[in-house]
Subunit: 189 residues, 2 copies
């Protein structure tokens, strides 16, 4: 099995398609972020990588709060729109018809239409080069009622998007269930 | 659309199923990691969250290098096995029949059977609570020859796994293509 060295690349499969939100000058704004993931279990934390110039980052710094919203496959156009347009030039909330609500932190805007919403307080912002890595503590988790099964978030109802970059940037849904974790590995031997 | 507050949860959809590798006391070891993602674009960096006691973390600290290997759907059993068993007690490389190779760093073990391999040098390790967030600079990217299309990594040939935690922890493949990024959002209006 031959390997080809391609030089340093930011190549992880799959990536989540997240909508990161913040109030910028008091107005809710959202951007699409694929670069990020859970950073700690206890307390629960998440990291998102954002270019320094981004409008949403300005709001994160102003309030030291932000949100991570998980869109469903139904929101693929809105998600892509939030990745293409800057909130400095356009009102993305209006264009996407987002219904915004606030939780316990009071100034981290959350998108009602997204089935999962994480309300976060900034723990640390690292300047890593082209991007700031924003690490936030997840203070509260909101899930749409109709996406719960016996009180637990249900991925089959949430229907999340994934963002894939190569060979072409595109969005995909989740596919076939391949096995239970902490279980299928027992059958190795 | 009603929302239910579930308390702080580490709930992101979807997560990647990555195999993070390091030489521990000179011997290659791999663990399954779902908590992580790209942390910077230029230079390319990745973050992975690892519990302090984990055997692989010991190796990462010893060498200040590690690898991130993206398994394909064919490796679901091996991936789960690497998440269930500690390298302190068992030789996972042998159990999984992994063919290990080394790249330019010399001591970050890479898995030949995984279609994508990132070779990383530690930039920073943050103690965030239950987990250490290891941030690494991606020094080289290796892709299996048969997973390239016109020289670019092709997700349809790579066939990555995704790890989903709720309502039950399981592995899924990627599904339907929903739209091109930087494109489908134009159709919003």
């Amino acid at each position: 099995m031959g390997k080809v060295a391609l030089g340093p690349q930011s190549l992880v499969y799959p990536m989540p398609a997240m909508l990161v939100g913040a109030n910028v000058d008091g107005k809710p704004n959202f951007m699409a972020v694929a670069w990020g993931g859970i950073a700690c279990g206890e307390p629960p934390m998440i990291s998102v990588a954002i270019q320094h110039v981004r409008h949403t980052l300005k709001g994160i710094k102003q309030n030291q709060t932000f949100s991570v919203n998980i869109p469903s496959v139904d929101l693929v156009k809105e998600t892509d729109h939030c990745g293409m347009v800057s909130g400095a030039k356009a009102d993305k909330v209006r264009a996407c018809h987002f219904e915004v609500f606030y939780g316990q932190l009071g100034n981290a805007p959350l998108i009602a239409q997204c089935p999962v919403n994480l309300e976060c307080r900034v723990v640390q912002i690292l300047n890593l080069g082209s991007h700031s890595l924003v690490i936030g503590r997840i203070e509260e988790t909101y899930v749409s009622e109709e996406c719960l099964t016996e009180g637990r978030p249900d991925v089959d109802k949430i229907k999340p998007l994934t963002y894939v970059t190569s060979p072409a940037a595109r969005y995909q849904g989740l596919g076939e269930v391949l096995g239970k974790a902490w279980s299928v590995g027992k059958r190795l031997a």
